[in-house]
């Protein structure tokens, strides 16, 4: 049986936030008497993640995804509730726990700016107490997986964003962690660099059985990497389950564009009881429930003279976009 590697129970987090009124008067008031209020950004959430799982955290900006990730890796102290990652309480930041995890942030970097990435790799290797031989072996293996070679010896400031991200990944994985926390790792990367990064993460997960927790605003990252998603809405979990089930639930219909041989056939089809979305000359678009697609198509092909037909999947970004603004009971 696969073990739980992350166990979160009734987790909450509050921050003290100061607010300021606009204008000079507001600025002076803010300087002398700062008004702060406690804001609960994470509200009593619970979930488990199994070893080897890749889980995507979805949510609008400010929903609380990054705060959850930072509590899971031990950077932020929870206000209430408990967290166990690999059997450790993250915030205690025990050496063995830190050797087991890594955090990669798309918008922040740990590589030394003026030096080639290889220098940062060996520095990290010494921090993780790896000898030179072992460090070299791991650098070679990871650079092969990431398909980087010459870039290792070029100062970071001269690398492209994609090359830099690959190097960031190598620096963050040199200690072969079991749990990876990735906060928008593909941010700002071009399509090819995004694809390569996803390919690498899939391969890394397959080879090492590492658990991956990922936040991203690029739906392609989520759909190609995560079977399971946790949707966060205003600090609460609005959905936790399989991604395909969520998509089916939110989009129970498929749109089918049917090209009839004649306008007469199209007219007949329009009046045959199907849910018609629109009709232009001999082209007609109908909406069919997912569970009756086969039988409906059979009926159409047997009774009408059809030239061509196209089944359109609803755009995933649109569906997920709807999830991000929904509360638990709406999904």
């Amino acid at each position: 049986m696969v073990q739980n590697i992350i166990d979160v129970r009734n987790l909450s987090k509050s921050f003290d936030i100061s607010s300021k009124e606009p204008g000079l008067k507001g600025t002076i008031k803010h300087f002398f008497r700062r008004q702060t209020k406690s804001l609960k950004v994470i509200k009593d959430i619970s979930f488990e993640i199994k070893e080897g799982e890749i889980v995507g955290f979805l949510g609008a900006n400010g929903a609380g995804k990054t705060t959850i990730l930072k509590m899971l890796c031990g950077l932020i102290y929870p206000s209430e509730g408990s967290i166990l990652v690999s059997g450790y309480i993250p915030f205690r930041r025990k050496e063995n726990f830190l050797k087991n995890i890594t955090l990669i942030m798309g918008q922040k970097q740990q590589l030394i700016w003026d030096l080639p990435p290889i220098e940062s790799f060996y520095l990290n290797a010494s921090i993780y107490d790896l000898d030179k031989f072992e460090a070299k072996k791991r650098i070679n293996k990871l650079s092969e997986m990431l398909e980087i070679d010459e870039e290792l010896f070029i100062p970071v400031r001269k690398l492209s964003l994609g090359q830099r991200m690959k190097s960031e990944l190598l620096a963050a994985l040199i200690h072969e962690p079991n749990v990876l926390f990735l906060d928008e790792p593909t941010l700002g990367l071009d399509i090819n660099a995004q694809r390569n990064l996803r390919k690498f993460l899939q391969k890394y997960n397959k080879e090492t059985n590492a658990t991956i927790c990922l936040t991203s605003h690029y739906m392609k990252d989520i759909t190609s990497l995560c079977k399971r998603v946790i949707c966060v809405h205003e600090g609460t979990i609005s959905y936790d389950g399989k991604l395909d089930l969520l998509l089916k639930k939110l989009s129970p219909f498929k749109e089918i564009l049917i090209v009839c041989r004649s306008e007469e056939d199209a007219f007949k089809l329009e009046n045959s009881g199907f849910n018609v979305k629109n009709k232009i000359k001999n082209e007609i678009t109908i909406k069919i429930e997912n569970n009756s697609i086969t039988s409906s198509l059979k009926t159409i092909l047997n009774n009408f003279d059809i030239e061509d037909l196209f089944i359109n999947e609803p755009p995933i970004d649109e569906i997920i976009g709807r999830v991000l603004i929904k509360k638990n009971h709406d999904i």
């Binding site: 921050f15 990054t66 930072k70 890796c73 031990g74 950077l75 932020i76 102290y77 930041r93 050496e95 830190l98 050797k99 995890i101 890594t102 955090l103 942030m105 918008q107 922040k108 970097q109 740990q110 030394i112 700016w113 003026d114 030096l115 220098e119 940062s120 060996y122 520095l123 990290n124 010494s126 921090i127 993780y128 107490d129 100062p155 906060d183 928008e184």
Partner: protein
């Protein structure tokens, strides 16, 4: 704590920060020239003070030069280690890159205090050292084991006090986010350390001994050089340095509980 690992990491810190600095040759050259000119300027200023009066606060010019020598060494240490690292804490906290430090299996205070070095500060340390050797000659100081031990102890304590004060201010960034001004005030106070404590009024002497112990930093080691220091003063400096070091360490660990990391 695994000492071997920490030594290995420090060796890597030295290597990477030296390599980073050497990427910018002109900058190093300018820093080196600044260090030499700054020392010449300080000695010139001191000589002006002593021009009309042979003594200030009971100190002769040749004796006051010792304070200048110790100040130069401490300023060199400040520029080599404290300035590049401790000012970076503010940046780490504001930009949220402290996250990477806290998630490394290494002491975070060690990491952020020693990761970088500025090689041009070494020249200042050497200049200060040569100035002290010159002062030993002109003041006809007898070099013996107890003198060397006491000098080493008091200078080490001065470094600890200076580091703790700076680190303490930088740590408050976790709450206040910007503390550049406080660090600048501390640096300004350090300039005062170039003059003998006795040259200030009684109230200022109390202020610089009790509230901001700048007096301990240069005056006590200088008194050791001249054989004027009393044992209680040296013991007091050791106690103050220990208290400062422990307090700054505890304060850092306490402050980390309030670290909220920068938003993404």
């Amino acid at each position: 704590m695994n000492l071997r690992k920490y030594l290995k990491v420090y060796k890597k810190f030295l290597h990477t920060s030296l390599a980073s600095e050497l990427e910018y040759k002109t900058n190093i050259l300018i820093d080196l020239i600044t260090a030499i000119l700054s020392l010449i300027g300080s000695i010139f200023l001191l000589s002006i003070f002593f021009q009309n009066n042979g003594y200030i606060g009971g100190w002769k010019f040749e004796q006051a030069l010792i304070i200048q020598g110790i100040y130069t060494i401490l300023n060199g240490i400040t520029n080599t280690w404290f300035n590049p690292n401790l000012t970076e804490i503010v940046k780490h906290i504001r930009e949220g890159t402290l996250d990477f430090v806290l998630l490394k299996p290494i002491d975070s205070q060690f990491f952020i205090s020693l990761k970088k070095i500025n090689p041009s500060g070494f020249l200042e340390i050497m200049l200060g050292f040569f100035l002290l050797l010159f002062c030993i000659r002109i003041n006809q100081i007898n070099l013996n084991l107890s003198f060397l031990t006491l000098s080493l102890i008091t200078i080490s304590c001065s470094i600890c006090i200076l580091y703790s004060l700076w680190f303490f201010i930088s740590t408050t960034t976790i709450w206040f986010v910007k503390t550049w001004n406080a660090i600048e005030v501390l640096r300004s106070f350090l300039y005062i350390g170039r003059f003998p404590l006795n040259s200030f009024s009684f109230s200022l002497r109390i202020f610089f001994s009790v509230f901001i112990p700048i007096a301990f930093i240069t005056t006590i080691p200088s008194e050791v050089f001249l054989g004027l220091s009393q044992l209680w003063k040296i013991l007091l400096e050791v106690i103050v340095a220990t208290i400062f070091l422990i307090t700054s360490r505890r304060f850092w660990l306490f402050a980390l509980r309030f670290y909220s990391s920068a938003s993404s």
